[in-house]
Amino acid sequence: MNYDAIVIGAGMSGLAAGIRLAMFDKKVVILEKHTIPGGLNSYYQRRNFEKGGIRQFDVGLHALTNYIKKGEKGKPFSKLLKQLRLSYDDFKLCPQTHSKILFPNIELKFSNDFELLQNEVSEKFPHQIDSFVKLVEKVQSFNELDLSIGYSSSRSTLKSLFSDELLIEMLLCPLLIYGSAWEDDMDFAQFVIMFKSLYFEGFSRPEGGVRTIISLLIKKLEDVGGEIRFKAAVNEILTKDGKAIGVNVGGEELFAPVVLSSIGYPETVRMTKSLESLVTPRVGAMTFLESIFVFDKKIPLNQNESTITFYNDAAKYSYRPATNYFDARSAVVCFPDNYESLKTEGEGTVRITFMANYAQWRELSREGYDAKKEQVSESALALINKLAPQFDGKVLFKDIFSPMTIERYTWHLNGTVYGSIDKTRDGTTPVPGLFIIGTDQGFLGIVGSILSGISMANLHGLMGPGTET
C-alpha cells in the first residue's frame, strides 16, 4: 500500500501531524502499537466494584501548560488552535487556583497571572529582583522556536544572573521535573519553552481530562480524512539507497516517501537498520513513579489551596535518578480538584510523582515489586499528610505506576518520559525521508508535542522536497 506519509505513534504529536497532512489532502496513515491513542498522555480505567465501580484515570496529565484566555493571540496554544482549526471552547479549560514551589521554610507561589511570581520573588528574594527582571527580559527576547540553536546549559546562564543559589534551585525545580531529559540541568532553549509555558502562561485542565483532548484530535483526524490503525506495531522502518521508503507493520509493507516517527529517537534508530551505524542518540535516565489516590472526600481549599505543589525538602534540588528505587525527598503533588469549576462534592483525587530508578525497578521480583510499591504508597500518603495535616479522608482506591509500567505501555526504552538527551530540533535524521517528531524533537508537554507534530508535518510533509501534489 502506498501513502504520501506514514506517522508512527498516535500520541499528541502523531495525531497532530496526521491531521495537518490529511487536512491538505495527503494520504496519511497513523500506526499505533497500543489499543488506544494518547501515547505518554493516554488514559485507562480501573474496576473497583466494592468501592464505587469503574474509575477513569489519565496516565500522566497533571496540568495542561500554556494556558491562555479565550481570544489571546500569538501564543503556542492559539497557534495550535489555528493550525488544527479547533475551537477554544471545545477544550473546556479549567484554570488552576495557583501552584507553589515549596522548599524548607520558603515557598514561591505562581499562577496564570505572571505578576504573582514576580511579587513573590520580590518579597522573598528582594536582593535578586533586578536579576529576575533581567532573566524575564532574556526569556522574552529568546526565540526558542529557532530550530538551529544548539545546547547551552540553563544552570550556567542562571548562575551568571543570580547570586542566591536557592532561587536558582526553586525556579528550576518545576521546569526540570515537568520536562527535562537531562539530569540536574536543561538546555536553555527548553528552559525558555518551559518558563513561558509554566510561569508566563500557566496551568489548566480540560474538563474530562486528557480524554477531552484526545477525542478532539481523533474527531478532527476523521473529519479531514486521515487513517489510523491500532494494534499496528511497526517492526522495521524500511530504507532503500539510504532513504526512508516505508515501514513493515506486522508483516505488511506500507510505502511512503515521508516517515514521521514519534516513538523516540533511540527507539527509531533501533528500528532502522541503516541508521544504527550512523547515529547513536542516548537514552535519557529520567523516569518516574506516579501514585494516584482516590479519597472519600475532597481536601477542602482551606486545608490545601494550591493546584500543584513542587515539593523539595532541601535547599538544593536534586533532579536525577533515585539512588534507592525512588526519592521521597522531592515530589510533584497534584490536587486536580483544585482546578476552577471542578470544585464539586464527591471523591477527591491526589496524584504524586517521585523520581525513580529504572535499573533497580527492573531487577525486582514480583513480590519485591509489590512490596516496593507499598513503600511508595506509604511515602506518598505521608507527604499528603504533611501538606494537608488536617485532612482525614479515607483512601477508597489507589494505583501506582512505575518505570516498568511506562515502558510496558509506551515502549519508551528504560521507561523514559522526557526522552533522549540528544534531541533533533529540526526533526531530521541521517536518513532522508525519516523524521523525528514529539518529545525527541524537543518541544515539551501536551501543547509542545502537538506543536511539534504540526511544525514537523509542515516542514517535512507539506513544504519539503517532493511534497508537491
Partner: protein, 81 residues
C-alpha cells in the same frame, strides 16, 4: 478573473484560517502580518489552501510575494488567468 475576485479569494482563505480576525479593515498596501495575527505557519496555510481549493502553486521562494493584499493580487492574478 478580476483583481477583485483574486482579492476575495485571499480574504476568504484568511477568514477560514484565522476566524477571529476582522478582514474588513485590512489596508491593502500594508503588510498582512502587521495588521493581523498571522505567523509563518498561517502563511503556509494560505499557500496550502490556494493549492487545495484553486490548484494554484506558490513555491517557497515566492512566499514573500504574499506580504500585502496588493502584492497577493499582483502575484496571484496571472496564476488564475
Amino acid at each position: 478573473m478580476t483583481a477583485a475576485n483574486v482579492r476575495q479569494i485571499v480574504l476568504d482563505i484568511i477568514s477560514d484560517i484565522a476566524p477571529d480576525e476582522d478582514v474588513t479593515v485590512i489596508d491593502d498596501k500594508k503588510s498582512l502580518r502587521e495588521q493581523l495575527d498571522l505567523d509563518s505557519m498561517d502563511f503556509l496555510d494560505i499557500v496550502m489552501e490556494l493549492r487545495k481549493r484553486h490548484k494554484v502553486e506558490v513555491p517557497q521562494e515566492d512566499y514573500p510575494k504574499l506580504a500585502t493584499l496588493d502584492s497577493c493580487v499582483a502575484y496571484l492574478s496571472p496564476k488564475f488567468a
